[in-house]
Symmetry: C2
Subunit: 541 residues, 2 copies
């Protein structure tokens, strides 16, 4: 994928073409000339340029996926460990995974799904027959066997060989247009109607005469209002497709964690559903993702057959990895200045790092607060309540007349503090929970950005090298212009994504803070009410 | 004092008499016949009765004072240690101090102030000349030396020798009348006007050209509204007098702790003043104490000369220890049934123990709550506040337009949580403090009851023995009747004191709970208000 990325920057021009099966679509113009004069397109090994730069430093969607799977921020934060965040920090460092990918795929072509667990793909691997929601062993390799040969004579080193087939992007509507709005810079073209969906009604299903069971969620898009059913593994399949296709341009936050033990427990199902809802809503809100064919398939397939056919088609989609930039058009926007692009990148990098720190800080504090609110604090209120009630029953034993007013009031006060104890313990679920969930979601999202930004930084570096290449006669000045133009498109895309992120962030934090504070107000008001009532039962003697 | 107590039960009839100096007052009738036919009045050693029973088991006001000084419940509860309550528990057990007192005073007469640190008493011991507010070494022994011989030929083993002098109780107004009120049983005769006083305006004074300094408090009784000045050591002098005089009948709670280090610090002075106020208010509320000459002297002496003369007189008061019962009259009340008396005693004993446990429990819990409210909890709110503000400043660095509304609101929310942190930390001073102070006061008060109840239990035991004594011809049936009558008076007195305690307790706990809950309501309302305001600054996008 690395070298291919370089090729993308330099060479592709997209032309409409027809393949041997008569399918029409856009194909890279240069690719068709693959065996002509281009000195470094026949294979990575023969390339006169030092491609190892990209090989070792450029993150790939594959490595993104791997890193994200290890620490995707979706660990339930109730067991969040502050010290365990080291895995995440690695995202900011040079990524050894990239190196590995480069080694196993020395070929210059993008490897498509290489490095991903290739579950649910190969024919004969009937995914509904295994109960595990994730199984690398069973499913890996299926793709290579089943797809080999279909692409024709292209060497198997890179799945990109299959991009010789006509791309599914056979009309310009699939180009995601970047508009320019003065205030915030480049933004995606947002649809008039904001797609959303409801994930609800988890149901236990079973098959093989009850031998295998699973949970199925009902997903209802607001567009059709027609529910479709999906298991967690279908969401995961969608995630893989989106990551593969859009991962270079758009950070795709991981799904909530897979879990084997206890996954049929109500509490877990509820939590997973809530997080799947959060993930889906975020995906729905993204104009590029929500309008993509694979996402639309997921939300509104007509029947099983439609779903299965759509899946196959999506799995064969070639416009993946950096190829996605070919479908993006900065409509009417001038080429960007390299320095400016770099500055934007750096600024965004700094911002996401800082926000990542801030979010993690808030999560750590929130987690401690959660523990206190559900542990020692209510226990203390309960003990205060018990102490009042105990004193009241001691007073009752005095044998002194006219004590009942005090002891009744004291008992009521004691019970009030026991009620407060319960309120305190239950409150975090009503407010802190959402604050934590939102920040947890952002932690996951922010964890994807280093990779996304890395793709752009690498592109900029490559364009910077272009001058030398021109001087050495390795590329023409016109080639250099092409590279700049493409880097410019990537940069517009990143900026549009940054702006999308920012506007969503503002919306999300406004909403979650409002919700948090509203619940906090209610909480303290209710405590005050309860205490006011307890107070009224005491009489001045 | 032990054997004297027995004598009191059996023999005293009070007659008006005139002493060698022409002073007139009540003296025990039997005492005058001391060298006549009574077989066990000439000295403990020769007594045919086993007086060691009382010697070893009966608490004396002296031992009360000693025990109370060790663990009087006035240790500032901010350093209250749950495990350190062992000292207090001793109060409920047989008291080794009593044994010791019995040994050193084998003589049958009460030793008056024996066992007390006899500070401020002897002539030539000009108490204003030493700065220490408590000094056993300097002041002890002064009394024995200066008073010896004054009492005539009476052997020095017991200071009661000096009771040969005419008692100061030379009119029946000084008899504290117990009234009977159907509902609650015997009660003290309460004055129409409830005395109170204000302890305020602590001022640093000095003497010996600034060599010695001290704090003087202004004490203003509500009766005269004329302030008098008192140093802590004057309060302590008053405490000693009250303990000596009333300790057998009325539990005299200890003063707030003496303290040498830091006693000029504002915080300490304020706390001490508050506790002196609490102590004085409690003393004012007691009809027997507040009407006593020594208490009136303390509150309303005219000038230095008046004060010094009054002090001398009070120090020479002979109606101390169990003698105080001679000044108590259960007006128109029938003699009590012994069984009933014993049951009342036991019930009250159980009650005070149970309340003591309850109060200590509340203090332990309150102390923990105090620590949490002033330690980790506000720190957590502060961290939440800082995290919000930090996130806000990260957001500000985004370079994205139209962020100001969110960042301003987020900063405000952060500051609100910092304010809440401060409120949380300061709140205990506004509510928990008074709840703790009241319970601390009651802890001290309850610690005095085992001794007071012990005096009565011992008296009952002795009266029970009377049958045997009559059978053995050691006392007459009429003597037995006298003993019963006196034990009855003591019991009425205890019951009046119990009822005084109960009614005060009901008043105090009503008041403190009202205050606590009122402040708690205000606290939670204020938090809700602050959060409501913070909430209003977020805008729905």
């Amino acid at each position: 994928i690395i070298s291919f990325f370089f090729l993308y920057l330099l060479h592709y021009r997209w032309i409409e073409a027809k393949n041997s099966r008569g399918e029409v679509g856009l194909v890279p113009e240069d690719y068709i000339e693959i065996n002509q004069a281009q000195p470094f397109t026949s294979g990575g090994n023969a390339a006169p340029l030092d491609l190892s730069f990209f090989d070792s430093h450029m993150p790939t969607p594959a490595s993104t996926a791997q890193v994200s799977h290890r620490d995707n921020g979706n660990n339930p934060w109730t067991v969040f460990d502050n010290n365990a965040s080291g895995g995440f920090s690695n995202n900011w460092a040079a990524q050894p995974e990239g190196t590995e990918t480069g080694k196993t795929s020395s070929n210059a072509w993008p490897s498509g799904g290489h490095g991903h667990p290739q579950a649910y793909q190969g024919p004969g691997a009937e995914d509904d027959e295994w109960d595990e929601e994730w199984d690398d062993v069973k499913s890996s390799g299926g793709y290579a066997e089943s797809e080999a040969g279909e692409g024709g004579a292209i060497n198997r080193g890179g799945a990109h060989g299959s991009s010789m087939k006509i791309s599914r992007n056979n009309n310009t509507h699939n180009k995601d247009v970047i508009q320019f709005i003065g205030e915030v810079g480049p933004v995606w073209a947002y649809p008039d109607y904001q797609l959303d969906c409801v994930v609800a009604d988890p149901k236990k299903g079973s098959k093989l005469y009850g031998l295998k069971s699973y949970i199925e969620y009902q997903v209802t898009p607001t567009t059709t209002n027609k529910p479709v059913n999906h298991r967690y593994k279908h969401f995961d399949w969608l995630y893989e497709r989106l990551l593969e296709k859009f991962g270079s341009a758009i950070p795709i936050p991981c799904l909530p964690d897979k879990q084997v033990a206890g996954r049929f427990e109500d509490e877990f199902i509820k939590m997973r559903m809530e997080r799947l809802q959060g993930w889906m809503t975020r995906m729905c809100r993204h104009p590029v993702i929500s309008s993509s064919e694979v996402f639309q398939l997921f939300l509104s397939y007509k029947d099983e057959k439609d779903w299965k056919m759509g899946k196959r088609k999506a799995e064969k989609d070639e416009t993946v990895g950096v190829m996605v930039f070919s479908t993006i058009e900065p409509e009417g926007l001038p080429d960007l200045d390299l320095i400016e692009v770099e500055q934007k990148c750096d600024q965004f990098n700094r911002f996401t790092r800082a926000m990542d720190d801030g979010v993690k800080d808030l999560l750590t504090i929130g987690n401690e607060h959660w523990k206190r609110c559900t542990g020692p604090l209510p226990k203390e209120y309960q003990r205060i309540g018990k102490a009042f009630q105990n004193l009241s029953s001691v007073f009752t034993s005095s044998g002194y007349e006219g004590e009942a007013a005090l002891t009744d009031a004291l008992t009521a006060a004691g019970k009030t503090y026991e009620e407060i104890a319960q309120m305190v313990a239950e409150q975090p679920k009503k407010d802190l929970h959402f604050l934590m969930e939102t920040n947890n979601e952002y932690k996951g999202l922010l964890g994807c950005f280093p990779d996304t930004v890395g793709v752009h930084k690498a592109a900029i570096e490559k364009v910077k090298e272009a001058d030398k290449l021109v001087a050495a006669g390795k590329i023409t000045p016109s080639d250099k212009t092409t590279m700049s133009k493409r880097a410019s498109t990537m940069s517009y895309s990143l900026q549009a994504e940054m702006n999308h992120f920012h506007s969503n962030r503002i919306y999300d934090y406004n909403r979650v803070m409002q919700q948090y504070l509203e619940q906090q107000v209610k909480f303290y008001e209710m405590i005050a009410d309860k205490l006011r009532h307890a107070h009224s039962q005491f009489t001045t003697m």
